[in-house]
Amino acid sequence: MDQKLNMKINGREVHFLRGQTVLEVCREHEIYVPTMCHDERLQPYGACRLCIVEVAGVPKPLTSCTTPATENMVVTTESPRLTRLRKTIIELLLSNHPNDCMCCEASGNCDLQEMAYLYGASLDRFPGEKWALPIKEDNPFITFEPNKCIVCGRCTRICNEVVMAGTIDMTSRGFTAMPDTAFSKPRSLQNCEFCGQCVSACPTGALTNRKSRGLGRSAEVEKVKTTCAYCGTGCNFFLMVKDGKVIGVESDYNAPVNQGNLCIKGRYGYDFIHSKDRITTPLIKEGDGFREASWDEALELVASQFKQIIKEHGPDTVGGFSSSRCTNEENYILAKWIRTAVGTNNVDNCARV
């Protein structure tokens, strides 16, 4: 077993394990440290510098995400100097950021907005040149608003480090640096998996889910944590619900199986729910087609037909096929119904795959 080591954060004695960074120790003990370029799914990057902390004996603040915790270290996460520095960092970011939170899709779900508020940053401390680039909406799933990009590299890193798709990378350095596809080609199946991981990693409104745009922002939607209905991996995520409609999917970063990662089906495969093709009323065969029926009529018919068959031919001429798409409870009820009301063991999965 790894030995527990001691350090002090903000005067508090805390334990940690060898190999943990100062930021990880803080998070584990619920000590708030602001971050922008950090994502638990990625290697530490140390670029945004918001996570700076003071370490006793070290004159300059250190980025906590890249500093390993050491035995007997003494760390301070809040001080007037740190606040001043963090505020300046945010104001520099804002100097090249459109201040249109009121119209932004990410409002209420944006780290930059939250931190500007938290540190009371002023919007125009460093007036200067701003980007004025067009919105990129060249594929069905992902919208890119380059003007809102703070070049934190979370999207490019998750695409390369975690997905290993290599779709996007930083184009250059300095003022014109920007995440982009090779030769600025539109995202397509040729170069992209459409997993939306880049969107899930973006701390601002630069990358958003196109299908959800304009349908409701963070404060107006209810988030329902659930489990994916596609493959057997069992990823968790939140369904975003507004006015009785599912308008999108958001990552659950604490999910044990998938840590906020999803594939195209989990993240973008939800709008079948409200498809106009859904069968919403029972249907009874009539001639070559079907006619609509009430639940009462349809269920009466189903029950009486099965009862009739059982009476005439015996229960073993009836059977049920269960569904690997339905819930455990429903499969249990089907098995029980077949073995009780019908009275046979004829119940099986379809193809056992």
């Binding site: 057997g232 998938n258 079948f272 069968i279 269920l299 819930t327 089907l334 009275g343 795959v353």
Partner: protein, 523 residues
């Protein structure tokens, strides 16, 4: 998983079929893990493998016997483990002698260099894990294939320690839960045999009925009976056998013949066409419940919106049962889970209250049990406590390529779609990027047949034909073609064969003989 040092991927294409599992594997690769891939197709993982064994479909056992022979011949086996934990090695040793390089190369198409390298890499690794998929089980020798994999892991002792073992990846989201909870002809919920009198009594008492001792019919058998005219009524809960089962002519005939067919579904499908009554289903967003994932983790599904048709499946089933004279009345799915916990020991400690804090992996026998994260440590279920080697023979596919049907069709999944595609095809964007079925064919075969990328072709087998566009790609090896079964407009399973694994009942989706011809639309 990240600490694994060698991954042996067998008949599994996780970047397409299990994308998030593949992220864990990718992480291990980035941390320097070695990769061995056994797959007839040049998958994403195969392209990056240290050794890619591009075996012929249906030759899993021959390859595994060949690997084991190399390991034993070189003394690479884990002698300590074999002595302490296994029995019957001599029988296996004798059997694999029949699988020398010449024979294995001929049966599998994999060169001896690759076999030696893979055998060395896997057996000599510190911690190696085998991940296998439907490429192993969807054969008529599916069960034997899985046993042959167990032989390999046991010979090398790559089991029972962290980051070793065998992980099986299955297809549908809740295939685990649906098997756990008893819609099976020979077992009551929780794998409790109907032949066991105590089990029958326990359920009989709880349900207040007498449970029949004779196992029921498997789904295939029910369909066979329908064709004979001796089966009268079927209730299908949210499945689409008329698209996703193999050998669809037979399935259609069965569904046409049965007197009374009820299908509960979200959408009109190939199967609902045959229904006498269609009942609306509710999507996963419209009900509370649980799913059990591939690592046996029971997790909550939560109702986000009201059922569009007013009722979820469990409510409908309860109503039908009540109308038939067996009242079922549950306040909510949580109450159903409470009943499950009282009757199914492996789910004994599960309740919605506990699941609020996160999923739990079964077996979880009681309320204080934390769940079980790894089963492989207690894999040795045999009474002697020892794992037994099985001597297995190469049998091959039920149908092999011949002069009239010279290519082998492999069917499978792609990342963008799910099963019969009824959900993903109705998700905006997904319908645009993958709008239709295409048959993947190797550049060599395409040239031979005069087929160019995107040409219309006719794919036919002894059972039927399908018209699709071709996709010329070196993902397919010469001699093999690949199709998915996600599109209602091209029913791939019109082609697949009736062969199944006699033990598990799994259809041989991974191999049947076909012919591909160029086809002009006017014709």
């Amino acid at each position: 998983m990240p600490e694994i040092d060698t991954i042996f991927l067998f008949g599994s294409n996780p970047t397409e079929a299990h994308p998030i599992v593949s992220l864990h594997l990718k992480k291990a690769l980035r941390n320097g893990a070695k990769l061995i891939v056994t797959d007839p197709r040049k998958t994403w993982m195969a392209e990056r493998a240290d050794v890619w064994m591009n075996l012929k479909p249906g030759s899993n056992i021959a390859l595994l016997n060949g690997l084991i022979k190399v390991i034993l011949d070189n003394g690479w086996e884990n002698k300590e483990f074999i002595a302490a934990r296994t029995e019957n090695l001599d029988e296996l040793r004798e059997k694999v002698q029949e699988y020398d390089f010449d024979r294995v190369e001929q049966l599998t198409g994999v060169s001896r260099d690759k076999i030696i390298e893979a055998a060395r890499m896997y057996s000599q690794a510190d911690k190696a894990m085998i991940v296998y998929g439907l490429g192993v089980t969807e054969h008529r020798t599916g069960t034997e294939n899985a046993m042959a994999i167990a032989n390999l892991a046991l010979v090398c002792g790559q089991i029972g320690r962290p980051s070793t073992g065998i992980m099986a990846l299955r297809g549908q989201n809740n295939v685990q839960g649906a098997t756990d909870l008893g819609p099976l002809p020979a077992t009551l919920p929780g794998y409790q045999s109907v032949m066991d009198e105590k089990v029958r009594k326990k359920f009989g008492d709880a349900w207040n009925v007498t449970i029949k001792k004779e196992p029921g019919l498997k789904s295939v058998e029910m369909l066979d009976e329908c064709v004979k005219g001796t089966f009268k009524g079927i209730f299908i809960l949210g499945e689409d056998p008329a698209q996703t089962d193999p050998d669809l002519y037979h399935v259609r005939k069965a569904l046409e013949s049965v007197d009374f067919l009820v299908v509960q579904e979200l959408f009109h499908t190939e199967t609902t066409r045959f229904a006498d009554v269609i009942l609306p289903g509710a999507s996963f967003a419209e009900k509370d419940g649980t799913f059990t994932n591939g690592e046996r983790r029971i997790q909550r599904v939560r109702k986000a919106i009201e059922p569009l048709a007013g009722m979820a499946e469990w409510e409908v089933l309860c109503k039908i049962s009540t109308l038939m004279g067996y009242p079922m009345d549950y306040k909510n799915p949580a109450a159903i889970m409470d009943e499950i916990a009282s009757l199914v020991p492996i789910y004994g400690g599960i309740s919605y209250e506990r699941l609020e804090k996160g999923g739990i992996q079964w077996p979880c026998p009681d309320k204080n049990h934390p769940g079980t994260t790894t089963l492989f440590t207690d894999l040795f279920a045999k009474s002697s406590g020892l794992a037994s080697f099985m001597a297995l023979d190469h049998i091959g596919s039920g149908e092999v390529a011949d002069e009239s049907y010279p290519l082998v069709l492999i069917t499978g999944r792609i990342r963008e779609h799910y099963n019969n595609g009824s959900m993903t095809r109705r998700s905006k964007g997904i319908d645009v990027i993958v709008p239709a079925e295409r048959v993947e064919i190797s550049p060599e075969d395409a040239e031979l047949l005069g087929i160019k990328d995107r040409n219309w072709v006719k794919v036919s087998s002894r059972r039927g034909e399908v018209k699709v566009r071709a996709k010329v790609t070196n993902r397919s090896q010469k001699g093999n073609v690949f199709m998915t079964f996600h599109h209602q407009s091209a029913l791939t399973n019109d082609l697949t064969s009736e062969h199944r694994c006699p033990i598990a009942g799994t259809p041989e989706y991974k191999s049947c003989a076909v012919r591909v011809e160029k086809f002009t639309e006017a014709a």
